[in-house]
C-alpha cells in the first residue's frame, strides 16, 4: 500500500515541477505575434505561388502587417476586394492595382512554323532551350514542351496538342507570373487584363531580320514598322526587328492589327470578333534540312 502512495506522491511531484517549468519557460520565451497576421493569411489563397514577390502567403501576410504602407504589396491572385479587406484589417489603404494576365507571345503553330526536326530527349523546355532552336527554325519561339503548364499553380494553362502551343484559361489566370519564370524562351508576359478583357499585343518573340523570321514562321513579326507608323498614341516601339505595344499607352484602337502584314498582332475579347482571325495556313515547303533531333 505504502508503495502505491509513495509512487503517486513522487510522480505527482515530478508532474507539478514539470508543469511549473513549462509555465515559466512559456512566459519567459513567449513570442508575441500580431494576431492580424493569421487573419490576413486566412484571406489569402494559400497557393504560395510567389506572384507577390514574397516567398509564400505567410511571408506576404507578415509583410502586410509589419510594413508602414501597403504600396507595392499586392496579391495578384486575390484581387482588389481581398486587398481592400486586408487593408481594413491592418488599417491602411490598399494600393490600387490593375489585374494582370499572362499573354503568350508566340503564335507559331505546327502548320505556320514547320518543324525541321523531332526531339526525342527529356520532354521539358529547359532541356530543349539548352540544345538550340528546338524543333522549328525560330530561335525565340515556343518550344511546346509545356514547362509553363507544369509551373502554373492555378491550373490556368493547358497545352493545345493541335497547335503545339500553350493556352491561358482566362478565368483561372491570376497573373502570378509562375509561367513567366518557367519559360526559358521568355515568351510569356504579364499584361494588364484590359477593360472587359480587351487587349492588343504582338504574338511573336522572334528577334531576327524579317526575311529570316518569315522563313522560320509565317506569322512572325518582321519588324516592318507599319504598326509603329500607324499608331497615333506612341504606344509601339520596335527593337531588334520586333514590335512591342506598351499596354499603358495603347488605346485599343486596333489600327495596328489591321496593318500588320503577317497577322502577328492579336486583339482579343473585342465585342464584334472575339478572336483575331488566324491567317490561312498555306502549305509551306520546309526550308533547309528535315533531320531529326
Amino acid at each position: 500500500m505504502s508503495v502505491i502512495v509513495s509512487s503517486i506522491i513522487v510522480l505527482g511531484a515530478i508532474g507539478i515541477i514539470g508543469a511549473l517549468l513549462l509555465y515559466v519557460v512559456a512566459q519567459r520565451f513567449q513570442v508575441k505575434e500580431d494576431p492580424r497576421i493569421d487573419q490576413v493569411e486566412a484571406l489569402l489563397p494559400g497557393a504560395n505561388c510567389g506572384g507577390c514577390g514574397r516567398s509564400g502567403c505567410r511571408d506576404f501576410a507578415v509583410a502586410c502587417v509589419t510594413s508602414p504602407s501597403l504600396d507595392g504589396l499586392s496579391c495578384p491572385a486575390s484581387g482588389a476586394v481581398i486587398m481592400k479587406q486586408i487593408g481594413e484589417i491592418v488599417g491602411l489603404a490598399a494600393a490600387e492595382t490593375k489585374p494582370k494576365i499572362a499573354v503568350i507571345k508566340c503564335n507559331g503553330t505546327c502548320d505556320l512554323r514547320p518543324p525541321l526536326a523531332r526531339f526525342e530527349g527529356a520532354p521539358t523546355c529547359a532541356v530543349l532551350a539548352q540544345l538550340g532552336s528546338g524543333e522549328s527554325a525560330c530561335p525565340n519561339g515556343c518550344l511546346g514542351c509545356g514547362d509553363c503548364v507544369e509551373a502554373c499553380p492555378y491550373g490556368a494553362m493547358r497545352m493545345n496538342r493541335e497547335t503545339g502551343l500553350p493556352e491561358v484559361i482566362e478565368d483561372k489566370c491570376v497573373g502570378c507570373g509562375a509561367c513567366v519564370k518557367a519559360c526559358p524562351r521568355m515568351i510569356i508576359e504579364l499584361r494588364p487584363k484590359g477593360p472587359r478583357g480587351m487587349r492588343v499585343y504582338v504574338a511573336c518573340s522572334n528577334k531576327e531580320k524579317g526575311a529570316l523570321a518569315m522563313k522560320a514562321c509565317k506569322v512572325a513579326c518582321i519588324g516592318c514598322s507599319k504598326c509603329e507608323k500607324v499608331c497615333t498614341h506612341d504606344a509601339i516601339t520596335i527593337q531588334s526587328f520586333l514590335s512591342y505595344i506598351d499596354p499603358e499607352k495603347c488605346k485599343l484602337c486596333k489600327k495596328c492589327v489591321e496593318v500588320c502584314p503577317t497577322h502577328a498582332i492579336h486583339a482579343v475579347n473585342f465585342p464584334v470578333k472575339k478572336v483575331a482571325p488566324a491567317p490561312a495556313a498555306a502549305p509551306a515547303p520546309a526550308p533547309a534540312a528535315t533531320t531529326e533531333a
Binding site: 521539358t124 539548352q130 530561335p139 531529326e292
Partner: protein
C-alpha cells in the same frame, strides 16, 4: 603489361571505328566559307574585316575578344561578301563572316598550298623562348581540337603559383566511330612529336606522355618509332574505356592523381592537350600557318572516311549526294550534338559527322528500376539517378550538395541506363542552374573582400 586506365566508372560502347585505316582525304577548298565568330569557349572574336575587303588564305578576319578567346583566319582567298548571322548546327543565330572566292583566288590558293615551305628551321625553332611559342600559338588561333575548343594559349599559361610538370597528349579518342586522331598519328607522327616538344617547352616541362588507347596499334607503333629517338616523351598505351578522353579521367589514368573537386586540372601538375592540337601547333610554329582546316571522320553506317575539311565549309556540301540518313550528329555518338539544320558551317571543334542510323533514335523511356547501373558507370563517382531526379524536381540546393557541378556530362549514365532514361539531359539543366547560382554567389561575395 598492365594497361593504365581511370579507376571508377566508365563504359565500353561498341567501337564501330570503320573509318580507321582510311587515309585522310583532302576535301577541295570550298568557293565560299562562312566563319562564325564563336568557335571556341570564351568571348566571341570581333570581326576586323568589312564587306568588300579582299582577304588572302591565312589572313586574320576576326580578333580574339579577350584573353580567353581565339583569333579566326580564313582558309580561302576571296572577298568578304557580308558580315551577317548564320546558324549554329542547333539552329541558333551567330554572327559570321562570309567570304567568296573567284577563279584567280582559287588558283592563288592552289599555288600557296603546293608551294608551302617551312618558315623556320629546327635550329630557329630551338631558340624560341616559351613566351614566344605561346604567342605564336595564340596568333594562330589554336584551340583544343578534341571538341571542347578551349583556347590553347590559356591552358599553357597556368595561374600564378601553379606549375606544370607534365604534358599529357590526349590521343585516346575514346568516342566510338571517330578515327581522325588515329589517322593523323599514323600519317604525321614526326610532326606531332615536334608539336608535343613545342607544347612541353611552352609549358616549361621535360616530360611528355602521349596516351593512346590500345585499339589503335598502328598509331601506337607509328608514334613509338618516332618517340624512340626523342628524350622526355613516352607513348602510353591505355585500356579502352569511355570517357578516358575526359581531361580529369585522363590525368587520373596517366599519372594517378585525381583533380580535386572544383579545382583546375593544373592543380595536379598536368596540362592535357589533344593530339590534333599538337599537330596544329607544329603547323603554326614551323609553317607559320594558322588553324585553317581540321580532320574529321564522316561515318554513314556503311563506310567511314577521314576528311581534311577547311573551316567554314558548309555541312551540306560534305554529305555525299544520295546518302540516306535519319539524323546528323556532329562529334562522336556519346558527346556529339545533333544538327537540326544543314546550312551550318564546320567549326574548329567538329570532330565527326555521323549519319549512322544506329544512333538515330533513343529507346523508349521506362520507369527507373533503381538498378544503380548509372552509378557504376559514372566516372566522377556521382549518383546520376539522384542528380537527375533532383534536377527534374528543381531541388537545386540538394543537387548542389550532391556535387552536381562535378558532372562532366559524358553521358555514361544515359548509355548505361537499361530503362533508356534521359539521365544526363536533366542533370545538364540542374548543373547549369547550380553553376549560375554559384557564380552569382561568388560575384556577390567578391566586392566584400
Amino acid at each position: 603489361m598492365k594497361l593504365h586506365t581511370f579507376k571508377i566508372g566508365g563504359v565500353h560502347p561498341a567501337e564501330n571505328k570503320i573509318a580507321a585505316g582510311k587515309p585522310i582525304e583532302n576535301v577541295p577548298l570550298p568557293q565560299e566559307v562562312v566563319l562564325p565568330v564563336a568557335q571556341h569557349i570564351g568571348a566571341p572574336a570581333k570581326p576586323i574585316v568589312q564587306k568588300g575587303d579582299k582577304v588572302k588564305r591565312g589572313d586574320r578576319v576576326a580578333e580574339a575578344g579577350g584573353f580567353v578567346s581565339a583569333h579566326i583566319h580564313t582558309p580561302i582567298s576571296g572577298t568578304v561578301t557580308k558580315i551577317d548571322t548564320c546558324r549554329t548546327p542547333q539552329g541558333m543565330p551567330v554572327t559570321a563572316i562570309f567570304i567568296k572566292s573567284d577563279e584567280a583566288d582559287r588558283q592563288a590558293d592552289a599555288e600557296t598550298i603546293a608551294n608551302q615551305k617551312p618558315i623556320r628551321s629546327d635550329v630557329e625553332v630551338s631558340i624560341l623562348e616559351p613566351k614566344q611559342i605561346i604567342s605564336l600559338i595564340q596568333d594562330a588561333g589554336i584551340v583544343g581540337l578534341g571538341g571542347a575548343t578551349f583556347p590553347t594559349h590559356v591552358k599553357l599559361s597556368p595561374p600564378p603559383g601553379m606549375k606544370a610538370d607534365v604534358v599529357i597528349i590526349n590521343a585516346v579518342e575514346c568516342e566510338p566511330c571517330l578515327s581522325c586522331d588515329d589517322m593523323l598519328m599514323r600519317e604525321h607522327p614526326a610532326e606531332i612529336v615536334k608539336g608535343v616538344q613545342l607544347l612541353m617547352r611552352a609549358a616549361g616541362v621535360n616530360h611528355g606522355i602521349i596516351a593512346i588507347e590500345n585499339n589503335k596499334p598502328e598509331a601506337i607503333e607509328a608514334m613509338s618509332k618516332v618517340v624512340a629517338k626523342v628524350a622526355g616523351i613516352e607513348v602510353m598505351p591505355m585500356k579502352v574505356k569511355y570517357p578516358q578522353g575526359g581531361e580529369k579521367q585522363l590525368i587520373e589514368a596517366v599519372i594517378g592523381k585525381e583533380v580535386p573537386s572544383g579545382a583546375l586540372p593544373i592543380a595536379t601538375g598536368a596540362i592535357v592537350q589533344n593530339v590534333a592540337t599538337a599537330y596544329a601547333v607544329y603547323r603554326a610554329v614551323y609553317l607559320g600557318e594558322p588553324i585553317l582546316d581540321r580532320v574529321l571522320t564522316l561515318h554513314d553506317g556503311k563506310e567511314g572516311r577521314n576528311l581534311r575539311v577547311a573551316l567554314g565549309t558548309m555541312l551540306d556540301t560534305l554529305i555525299p549526294e544520295g546518302t540516306e540518313y535519319e539524323k546528323i550528329i556532329l562529334g562522336g555518338p556519346m558527346m556529339g550534338r545533333t544538327a537540326s539544320t544543314l546550312a551550318t558551317p564546320m567549326i574548329k571543334g567538329n570532330s565527326g559527322i555521323l549519319l549512322d542510323p544506329v544512333y538515330a533514335h533513343r529507346g523508349e523511356v521506362e520507369p527507373c528500376i533503381r538498378c544503380g547501373k548509372c552509378q557504376d558507370a559514372c566516372p566522377m563517382g556521382l549518383e546520376p539517378f539522384l542528380l537527375s531526379t533532383l534536377s527534374r524536381l528543381k531541388d537545386y540546393d540538394e543537387a548542389e550538395n550532391q556535387k552536381i557541378a562535378n558532372c562532366i556530362e559524358c553521358g555514361s549514365c544515359s548509355y548505361a541506363c537499361p530503362a533508356n532514361r534521359p539521365v544526363v539531359d536533366y542533370i545538364r539543366i540542374g548543373k547549369a542552374k547550380v553553376m549560375a547560382a554559384m557564380r552569382a554567389r561568388a560575384a556577390a561575395a567578391a566586392p566584400k573582400k
